[in-house]
Amino acid sequence: MAALLEADDVVKHFPVKRSLGEIATGRHPAVHAVDGISFAIESGESVGLLGESGCGKTTTGRLLLRLAVPTAGTIRFDGQDIGTLAGDDLATFRRRAQLVFQNPFEALNPRFTVLRAIAEPLVNAGVPRADHQARVVEAMRRVNLADVDQHLDKYPHQMSGGQLQRVVLARALVLEPIFLVADEPVSMLDVSVRAGILNLMRDVRQAMGLTAVYISHDLALVRYVCDRTLVMYLGKVVEDGPTEEVIRLPQHPYTQALVKAVPVPHVDQSHEPLPIKGNVPDAKNPPSGCRFRDRCPHAMARCASEEPPLREVAPRRRVACHLLAA
C-alpha cells in the first residue's frame, strides 16, 4: 500500500526572545519543538502520536495540516510537498485534510449556529449554497446527532460538551476528507461522554476509510483507537510500532516508564517506583546524544556522545535506543 503521508526529517524550531548576552554573542536560541522526525503513514492507517506535554506532538499535528511550516525537512501528502502548496492546490489539500480540536467549547464560533458552523467548510470550498443544508444534515447523521431539526439552529452555549464535539467532528467530515488529525479529542470531556465520542470516531473512520492521526498523552485512549503508535520525547520519535506491541513489550526505556505510569482503575495495582527520575529537560537546550539519557536508568557513556537513530528492530517496529543496537 502506498504511503499517504511521508514526513522526512522534519524540524520545527520556534525562536524565542534573545537575552542581551545572546545578542552579544550572536546566538539565536530556539525551542526545538520538533527535531528531525521521519515517518510514513499508509492510507487507511490510524496512528497515535503519544507523548507528554512539550514533546512536540501538537506541533507535529499542526505541521501535518500545514498550520505551521517546517524549519527544515519535507512533508508529502499524496506525493506532493505540502510546504510548497499554493492557490488551488492548497485549497484542495484543505478539503482533504481536516482537524478535530481538543476543546469543543472553544473550537466553535460562539456566534454561529450549528448549521452555520458545519456549513462553514462548504462556504470556503465554494460548494453551491443550495447544497449546504443537505450536506450538513448528512454530516450530522454521520456523527449521530439525531434530531437534526432540534439542533440546527442552536448556538454552542446551548449544547453539552459531548454534543459540541459531535458538531466539531461533523464540521471536519462535511467535506468528506481523506485525512484527519485529532488533537486530544476527548480530554476536555467527562468520562461518561468520552466513550461515546471515541466509539464514534472509530466507527466513522472505518465507515469512511479515513487515515487518521490521534494526538494524545493518554496511552489507554491511543490503544483504543489506533493501530499504530509513535512515542515522542522532546521533539524526537523514540519508538514506533503496532499499538498492542508497544504497550505489551515497550522497548525504549521511556516508553517502559510511560506504560508503567498509566493509572488503571483497579485497587490491586503495582505501587513500585517508576524506573525514571527527574523532569523533562528544557527544549531550548536538549541534552547531547540521546535526549532521554539523564533520566534513563540504563544510560551509558555512548548515550551522551552519540544520538541513537530510530532504527528498525523488527518488522514495522522502530526504536531509538543504543541498548537495542545489535
Binding site: L90, A107, A125, A130, V137, R141, V168
Partner: protein, 311 residues
Amino acid sequence: MPASLEPATLPRPTPALWPRLVRAVGRAIARAAAQLRRDGFALAGVTIYTVFAVVALLADVLATHDPMEILFLPTGKLAANIRPGADFLLGTTNLGRDIYSQLIHGTRSALLVGLSAAVVVASLGTVVGLVSGYFGGRIDMVMMRFADVALSLPFLPFVIVLIGFLGASINIIIMAVALLLWPNTARVIRSQVLSLRERAYVEAARVTGASTWRIMFVHIAPNILPLSFLYGSIAIGWAILTEASVSFLGFGSANVVSWGYMLQDAFASQALSRGHFNWFIPPGLCIVLVVVAGFFISRGYEEIFFPKLRD
C-alpha cells in the same frame, strides 16, 4: 450508539440572506434593550442622546428665529439683552440674536461633529486594529508607530495649529479629533484581535480553507464590534468637547452656530459679569449633558463586555 432510524428530515430551504440579517439585527437590538433595562445609567444616556437627536433633526421646526439674524422689536429698537419671556424663550444676546434658536441649532452642529468624529474614529480604529493585530509583523510595527506619534501630540494645540493652517471649519475639527483619537481604539482592538486570532475556532476556519478576508471580517470582526461602539461613544463626547473648546477660544468657524460659539460670544460680551445667566448656562449645560450621556452609554457597554463588573 443510538443510531437514529427515524425518517430523514426534509431539508429545509436555506433561509435567504435578508430575513436572516433582519433577524440578527433584531436580536442585537433586543439584547441591547435588555441590557438597558438592567442599567439605569445607560438608559439615561440613551434617553439624553435620543432627545438631542430629535431636537437636531427638527431644529428648523423648533427654532423660533434664524439664529444669526439680528432682531428688532416692533418699536424698531434693537432687541438686545432681553430677558427670557414668551417672545424670546431664553432671551437675546447683546446683538439681538435669539438664544433659544441658537441653542437648538447648536445641537445640530454638536451632534454633527460628535457623530461624524465617532464614525471616523471607530471605523479607522477598527480597521487599523484588525489589520495590525491579525497580520502582525512589519505592518503592525508601522501602524503602531503611527499610533504612538498621534498619541504623543498635544490635543488642543494640534487642533488649533491645524485650523491655523487649513482654516476654521467644522470638517477640520472633525478630522483633527479623528486623527488624534483613532489610536486608542486601534490599540484596544488590536490587543483583542491578538487574542481572538489564536482562538481554536479561528484556527478551525483556517483549516477549512477560509480566506484571510473571511477570517478577519466574518470570524473576528463581529466579536470586536461592541468595542468599536464603545470607543465611538466615548469619541462623541470628546469631539463635542473639543469643538466647544476650540470655538470658545475663538478659533471656531464664524458662520456656524455651536454651543462653544455661544459661550465664546457670551464670554466676549461679559455676560457673566452682567449676570446674563440665560446666555451661558443653557449651552454649558447641554455640553455637560451630551458628554456625560456618552460616558453613561460606554459604561453600560463595558458591563456587557466585562461581565465581572456586574454585582
